[in-house]
């Protein structure tokens, strides 16, 4: 569906993205993950035909973006970082304008608007001026705009940035609802989002792809340490000694009743660790993984050696 070959973009001397290669199959939901300034937005802008690449090729359904821009653009629904809404329009009028702009045939316009409103749950505000809506609603109007032509491909650039947790949850639910109906490429720097929504993830940093796989495979490939936060009631020193002597425990730190334990998951399973703590009679009150493994992988992959030091 989307194939990106040797894509490079330079802004003057600065290289924004360098030799990107990836393909996205029909119906997939792919997360485009990277720290700020990694080149996510640049890549998306090139895929949508907003700007041209310095070199390389992007094909949508076999059509080159640069050679057949009109054909490609009618297949893509794009939500930029800032939702592209005309604040002086009503939600309904805006969607109708976008539908016409996207060349939706005349008799389908109303049906498509209803579809977009339904998916984004905007029916209540369809007769309101966009400038009077909250940021979360504006974001949803932006998504509705991307959906209104029922495009086979949806490209969403950080769809949940700047929203409150409830709105974030709603937008995620919305994207999950759209899964299967559209091929979705979604950029974000929030990991839990990728975990919640995406089937596959492309991790990009400093303009280069450093990992591209399904989430499970990425976690499996990287053997990393896992960290737990443990609260106990008593016998801190005994527990400390017990833990330090166990195989697979890489480090123990504690302050008062609180312990931070680093574990190599290959050598020591979580089950054995909890058993050891309980058996020590320290009175376990809390046990939680502090850094989820994906987050760790992400930080390890996206930081250079120098950053880590």
């Amino acid at each position: 569906m989307i194939s990106v070959k040797q894509l490079t973009k330079n802004y003057g001397d600065r290289c924004a993205i360098n030799n990107l290669n990836f393909t996205i199959k029909k119906g997939e939901v792919v997360g485009f993950l990277g720290p700020n300034g990694a080149g996510k937005t640049t890549t998306m802008k090139i895929i949508t035909g907003f700007m041209a690449a310095s070199s390389g090729q992007v094909c949508i359904d076999g059509d080159d973006v640069y050679e057949h821009p009109l054909r490609v653009k009618s297949k893509i629904g794009y939500l930029p970082e800032t939702p592209p809404v005309y604040t002086d329009m009503y939600v309904n009028d805006y969607l109708s304008f976008v539908a016409k702009l996207k060349k939706v045939s005349h008799n389908l316009i109303n049906e498509n608007i209803e579809y977009a409103l339904l998916q984004t749950q905007l029916q209540d505000v369809k007769r309101r001026l966009i400038k009077n809506l909250s940021k979360g609603y504006k974001q949803r109007v932006g998504i509705a705009g991307a959906l209104v032509s029922k495009p086979p491909i949806l490209i969403l650039d950080e769809p949940t940035v700047g929203l409150d947790p409830k709105q974030v949850a709603e937008i995620r639910k919305l994207i999950i609802r759209l899964r299967g109906k559209h091929t979705i490429l979604l950029s974000t720097h929030v990991l839990s989002e990728v975990q919640a929504i995406c089937e596959r993830v492309i991790i990009i940093t400093k303009g280069e792809i450093i990992a591209e796989d399904s989430l499970e495979d990425i976690s499996r490939k990287s053997s990393t340490t896992t960290q737990f936060e443990v609260n106990v009631l008593r016998k801190e020193n005994v527990l400390r000694q017990t833990l330090s002597s166990m195989q697979g425990v890489l480090g123990v730190e504690h302050s008062g009743h609180k312990f931070y334990i680093q574990v190599d998951p290959e050598k020591l399973s979580t089950e054995n660790l909890t058993k050891a703590i309980v058996d020590s009679g320290a009175g376990l009150t809390q046990f939680k993984p502090t850094m989820n493994s994906l987050e760790k992988i992400f930080i390890e992959l996206t930081s250079s050696e120098k950053d880590l030091q």
């Binding site: 907003f50 653009k73 016409k100």
Partner: protein, 252 residues
């Protein structure tokens, strides 16, 4: 064509149904009312004074100066109306929507040009109401009046094209207004420079490029083909340039 009309309608509504437009239109109406009444009074005085056997008509005194006042108002009002056309899109990022939609840059600028033209012609319409009202009780040459207003409408179109181009250059609406006004004034004053020029060629070139000379021929009742071509080509040139500016963001 459909896409162009779609963009044109949106831009026309976006420009027309705003408090800003009402403010500009009422300001223009205020200035025109003031000057028109003054012109009428001038005419009333001059018709009582015998001036070496020459009798000036209502058109020569009132309509001519009304048209030139309208032109001066348009120099400032049109950039203030058209400033939003592209600058605002760039600022609010709706530009991204236009550029990622299946429309060509020609359709975008043509739609915006006609949208801006419809809104700006409303100011010309306001100005037209004054001589139209005078027709009820005075004798104004209708042919001359119409040719004058065809002329000022074409001038308005040229200003809209220039305003559109200036708007495409910047994402700041203030910068695009200032550029637009300076451009319009430059075209208006171009023929003034010919006074000090010794080269006949230069004089004729600058005369031809100046808006004032072309407008004057319309006011005199001459629908000159060269003037019509001048205005249409000015519109096409600046709309084309705006299209290039939009296109440039795709290969920058």
């Amino acid at each position: 064509m459909k896409s162009m009309i779609n963009i044109m309608m949106r831009d026309f509504k976006g420009l027309f149904f705003t408090p800003m437009f009402y403010f500009i239109a009422s300001l223009c109406a205020f200035l025109l009312s003031y000057s028109y009444v003054r012109n009428l009074i001038d005419f009333a005085y001059s018709s009582g004074v015998p001036s070496a056997g020459i009798k000036y008509s209502l058109h020569q005194i009132v309509v001519v100066s009304h048209i030139s006042i309208t032109n001066i108002i348009l120099i400032f009002a049109v950039p203030a109306i058209t400033m939003k056309l592209i600058s605002e899109e760039k600022k609010s990022r709706t530009y991204d929507l236009l550029l990622t939609s299946p429309v060509t840059s020609t359709q975008i600028v043509a739609g915006k040009f006609f949208g801006g033209l419809c809104a700006s012609l409303f100011i010309v319409f306001i100005s037209f109401l004054y001589p139209l009202g005078s027709l009820l009780f005075a004798d104004i040459d209708l042919g001359l009046l119409l040719s004058s207003y065809i002329g000022i409408s074409l001038v308005c179109a040229a200003y809209v094209a220039i305003g559109l181009f200036c708007s495409s250059l910047s994402s700041s609406i203030i910068a695009s207004v200032i550029m637009g006004v300076v451009f319009n004034l430059a075209l208006w004053f171009l023929s003034q420079g010919t006074v000090y020029s010794e080269s006949d060629l230069l004089v004729s070139i600058m005369d031809h490029m100046s808006i004032g000379d072309h407008l004057f021929s319309f006011v005199k009742g001459a629908l000159k083909f060269s003037s019509i071509v001048y205005f249409i080509s000015a519109c096409c040139l600046f709309v084309f340039l705006s299209g290039r500016v939009i296109e440039s963001s795709r290969w920058r």
